[in-house]
Symmetry: C2
Subunit: 608 residues, 2 copies
Amino acid sequence: MSNYRPRLLRVNLSTGACQEEDIPEKIVIDFIGGRGFGIKYLYDELQPGIDPLGPDNKLIFSIGPLAGVGALSTSRWLVTSKSPLTGTYFRGSGGANFGAWMRFAGFDVIIVEGAAKKPVYILIEDGRCEIKDGGNLWGKNTIETQKLLKETHGNQASIACIGPGAERFIRFAGIMNERRGVGRGGLGTVMASKKLKAITIKPARKTKVTSKEFEALRREAVAALREHPFLMPVFSKGGSTVSVGLSNAMGLYPTRNFREGTLGGWEEVSAERYAALKEGDNACYGCIVHCGNLLRVKEGPYAGATSEGPDYETIGAFTGTFASNDIATTIVADSFCDQMGLDTMTAGNSIGFAFELYEKGIITKEDTGGLELTWGNHEAALELLKMIANREGLGDILAEGTKMAAERIGKGAADYAMHVKGLELPLYDPRGAKWHGLNYITSPMGANHNLGYGIQEMFNNPYPRPVDRFAEEGYAGVVKFNQDLTAGIELGILCTFVSTSQVPPLPLFCKMLASVTDIPQFSVSSLFLVGERIWNLERLFNTREGFGRKDDAYPKRFTTEPLKKAGPSEGAIIRNPEGMLDQYYAVRGWDHEGVPTAEKLMSLGLKE
Amino acid sequence: MSNYRPRLLRVNLSTGACQEEDIPEKIVIDFIGGRGFGIKYLYDELQPGIDPLGPDNKLIFSIGPLAGVGALSTSRWLVTSKSPLTGTYFRGSGGANFGAWMRFAGFDVIIVEGAAKKPVYILIEDGRCEIKDGGNLWGKNTIETQKLLKETHGNQASIACIGPGAERFIRFAGIMNERRGVGRGGLGTVMASKKLKAITIKPARKTKVTSKEFEALRREAVAALREHPFLMPVFSKGGSTVSVGLSNAMGLYPTRNFREGTLGGWEEVSAERYAALKEGDNACYGCIVHCGNLLRVKEGPYAGATSEGPDYETIGAFTGTFASNDIATTIVADSFCDQMGLDTMTAGNSIGFAFELYEKGIITKEDTGGLELTWGNHEAALELLKMIANREGLGDILAEGTKMAAERIGKGAADYAMHVKGLELPLYDPRGAKWHGLNYITSPMGANHNLGYGIQEMFNNPYPRPVDRFAEEGYAGVVKFNQDLTAGIELGILCTFVSTSQVPPLPLFCKMLASVTDIPQFSVSSLFLVGERIWNLERLFNTREGFGRKDDAYPKRFTTEPLKKAGPSEGAIIRNPEGMLDQYYAVRGWDHEGVPTAEKLMSLGLKE
């Protein structure tokens, strides 16, 4: 009925079989693409209780109908799996060009299942799929791996690969494509568990949607982006580094492992300072924003070090958490994590966690191999990062993530492990952004900032209405709105940076989706409906795994310690998290335990 | 994009203009038909604050895409307007054949606006519309009116008309088609205010959907109806009279103006007793259930009296409310109301109200013109009914409905006026069916039983899950489900009697809608989405008129007096109506005052 005929490639690494499949029409209509396909296949194909690092886990790469068709900022790709860090549903989101290359290869979904006996990579070329020997790649970092594969398959290849971090089963290793990563949740570790070093796509054909209607919509979207008062004039210049000043001014910049809300001397890591180190920029496929900063350290012991980045979250993770304001450290750490294929956010948070344990005497110099983890000691932080990457000493424990590390360390360490469901916190203190914070505890994959970003609180954006960031009553509906909207946006898959600026405007984005999917009735409310369907199916996945209300909880600190040194957020604390959860479950149509009710599932078409 | 091209006929009685219009594609896709078109046009075209009985009010007749196309029980027609009884949005639902005839005439919507200077009727014949002189019809009852118009235009005409009740501006006069009425809310009175006696449709052509796909679905629906364990074996035999026994057994049968829950001697008005008086049956167009009972009183003072009906609600209104169990009275009253064009439910409730005022001494024999309104005095009840129809004495006051009548009478009469927002209560006591009861206070048109019927409580039907009818926590989501579902069903427009039995099954019903509208993606979740959109737009209409939380309230009795003589419902009382409202508003995504939030409206496509 629709001309949109997404296709699926299934690669079984145990048997070596590659198989192409149509995606059933009912799935296409109900889930559209991207994140929808990810959870639908994961939910349907994974048995509950399987080991995330065993052969029964699957990796589902997916793109949306707008990938690689000429629209701006809509070629992101997702990886969906069961996370070894959290044990929950997880989806990572990647930039660069792998998404567009999936479109060119003709596959909307690639499911990788089983596990190889020895290192391999998948080659997709001219519509064929091959499983190739990856022995020579194993052990190589993500830069070298991509370089080697391009030497073999040409510079036009796009490669999603893992680094040594994943191979060492560090639970927060990601997947890299160019210098952009699917960072969080250990999806690279899942890939390593399958002995899959990389997926290489050599473009076969370039698909181009050429309908006049779509072209007009595309132009309208480009104009909206160009005319936006923030995206090109500000964001394009420095990317998310601009948030450092914003977050410190609000008193939300996590400092000393989330004890304080402003970093002394934060100006040293401000957007201006990064701008001074900028030598160029980089963009994802089909994006004119170019938010990637190519930076070079100019002086000091790390002079000459370069990175594409760091972005705001990485800066936060490698400064405030251990009370450093050393800009060079952030660049070195960023580059190192990219090469090793590690999640900067979990890595930096884990280091801040270790610093606090050291202060409290829970760990000592004996544990740290002599490192003095005193606040601000950024050299020690970088050393500890290397120990994590090499699984040496304390690093071997931290390589499990703060939740498991705290369990192993004992002695009350868990009180200082800043995570939800095992995923370390994003770099905005939820005590001063309570509704954004409600995402951290209700997201299906632990503390994540990108599944329902609280633009209302962070940017005073009254969309769809203003939110009081300190209130604990009245805004659960906005949280649901942000979450369902994001799930809908990730059908596209539009970049969060532009979508949270309402570019393109939602009705236009929906028209673009309607045009390329040939589902003419697809409207804003369709997007919210599919988004809500996705959110509920993700929740059902976790419910099936045994997660529930008890797991929708903050680290102890946020409900017991007022935020200090936090300017306008001074003294903020989460007083009634259960009350906020009650409001949230009610507006979601979930029961008191956070389980979607029969009526909610039926009305979403998830139950007959 | 879709082959479904519904058309609208606009008749302006002030100017005499008849005009055909396309319904814009956006409205078609967002609102589909029936109830959707009703509220969409009413919301867009009515200015807030207009007098329901002035020329600025409109009457919107609408059908759904399944009317007159051969599907079973889907040819109901709706009338949407601002009610003179409640001042709210109102929609009445009619059976018989007028809905199918609208389809044959080629109009999905007929909007009547303005007001004529002298009595007229509208004739729609061979695709033409004429406003004809109705002087000779004015004053005639609904039987005579239809007879006269058929003499002029032929027996194949279908006529929707008003009776003398509406002409006398009784605020609860309805619109009759054959012997089925659009009873509630005074929509006939609106028609009278426009001096419109009738709309007569002479079928021009018979539309028939002949696609093989639709034919297969239609057959499946017929089979589902034939195989249903209740509908043909039980319901078809006696219609809703079966509920008398059920309701008394549950202790929900309103007795003595809702003081008690069981009527002494209710067996005299049981399904069996009505069956004994049955001489035949009657069906709406395209329905094999034939739930209309053709009854004749066999003996006593009313021997020879006949009626098509009464149904359960009418039986309840003319027995328990004033503590009578006289079966003949119910038949005589039913027939009288049909002829006068009066709502039996409001009429009977008003009489029960008067009986209690009499008992309390708030009114006396002086007010009643000598009638002794003592419990069980059914002769007096029938006399009072005639006084209402003739607007004589106390009847003239009761003709305004219990809410306005209580205001005029004063002396605490309002405590005994059993209504919500001015609409008198259906005949199930909400104290023993609390979630069904939540409909009464949250429905956009006052106490109505058919906008979200609580089958879970009334029939122990665990669809979508069982409900504890005495609980005050945990089922607001089921109420929302029932309401959104009903609004979705009324796109069809499927009869409530079969739809509440899940016939045809919802997925099949949606496939039928998808087939005839040529919106192939139309699914169960689409139905709930459109249903929720409708419900919210209806709420917005009322919000614009000044209604809010304060108006979502029960009559005092239900929160202050335990239900007596009520068997398993003995002692039931509504303890925390505000708490139930809180739950309901939360699950609806409305704010504390019951106003839909910006995020809810945006996600429903009701706000950009």
